[in-house]
Amino acid sequence: MRHVIVIGSGPAGYTAAIYAARARLAPLVIASSVEFGGELMKTTEVENFPGFPDGIQGPDLMTNMQRQAERFGAEIVYDDVVRLELDGPVKRVHVGNGDVHEALSVIYATGSAYRMLGLDDEARLSGYGVSWCATCDGAFFRDKQVAVVGGGDSAMEEATFLTRFADTVHVIHRKDSLRASATMQERARANPKIRFHWNKQVAHIHGGDLVSGVGLVDTVDGTESSLDLSGVFIAIGADPRTHLVHGQLDLTAEGTIAVDGRSSRTNVPGVFAAGDVIDPTYKQAATAAGSGVVAALDAEHFLASLPEGLLAQAVQPAAETVAA
């Protein structure tokens, strides 16, 4: 049994693990089998994480966080959580290979998952021209026509990135103004390879084996049009990953996990939540990291209130672990 199990390995999860490990709590991190490192594994240059004046590659930033957590004694399991039992003083975390990990507290930091358009053929053509990761797939669209659907920061980032390869990047947005930050907007609007299609909604994705285009509907006057395309990159936001805790933890109206005020405390004692899974608004690597700190400190405080006999049963840090 552990003092604390951290579920998730993005900036929130790893930062919580760093703090918990330095507090001699020997945390176990369930990092996921293939999505470890979280969303930043799918980005290139991160320019706004403090402490890296020349920027840092997203995957490198996450590898650094992982090494920092391990240095202080965090142990990492590369598997997916399939079931959680959060009631009672001992929490149980079931993972994909059948193992069950027990802990006195849980920090839930599973982030969010990309939203889909919800169209026929979207899933079928995923990986065949429909993509959620411009940095992964952009290079295959050299000199091609591609579209980015969305109007936020990630849509502008994807569109700007795709101009390295594509002939033209069509930004399809259902409104006539962008939600993206001023910097990202200016960069996209100044790029001659980006064309904006305002007040347009994607109604169909066409294609046999590969994407061939999209059908659009004007959100103001309802007129239909179409665009011939080789690639469609979807960047319309993300939903908090809460399916594992439905019926166990209270959620907010926005679908994030409800926490008490500025703390990370959920409605279940000993269960804390951090990062994008509690944040409907800011969703930044740096805010997620800060949220991870809050969760680790809240968990530490909670553990201090437990009887000595229970704490003594938990895994203690290895002797060779760097003294905090």
């Binding site: 089998s33 293939v34 999505e35 470890f36 490192g37 930043l40 594994m41 799918k42 980005t43 290139t44 997203g58 995957p59 598997d79 997916d80 994909g96 290979n97 995923s126 990986g127 065949y128 021209g129 993509s131 990761c133 940095t135 992964c136 797939d137 290079a139 295959f140 669209f141 084996d209 590969l210 080789s230 690639g231």
Partner: protein, 108 residues
């Protein structure tokens, strides 16, 4: 990172199309984060089934010709070739149990 053998545009025909054992090709690129996650899992699966399924990798940055021949548009992309033909094609990172299920006919 993956320890699988690198195959290039120049060696693809010999090493994959002419191979006697079904061969899983891992199309990847150094800038693809999900590829870093997937490659070691493929190595593991191949190692656990010696002689049934080989695994090789193709860096698409350096071998775009092969990637375009097989219409790869998304990374990571995993193909299985048997007797020179594509017999399985998958895209996106998946967990080990999901991959094993998809590859059941080759490793089962």
């Amino acid at each position: 990172m993956s320890t699988a053998r690198e195959v290039t545009d120049a060696t693809f025909a010999d090493e994959v199309l002419a191979a006697e054992t079904p061969t899983m090709v891992d199309f990847w690129a150094p800038w693809c984060g999900p590829c870093r996650a997937l490659s070691p899992i493929l190595d593991q699966i191949a190692a656990e089934h010696p002689g049934r399924l080989d695994v090789v990798k193709v860096n698409v940055d350096e071998n775009m010709e092969t990637a375009l021949t097989y219409q790869v548009t998304s990374l990571p992309a995993i193909f299985v070739f048997r007797n020179g033909e594509v017999v399985k094609r998958m895209t996106g990172a998946k967990g080990k149990p999901a991959l094993e299920a998809e590859l059941a006919e080759f490793i089962g």
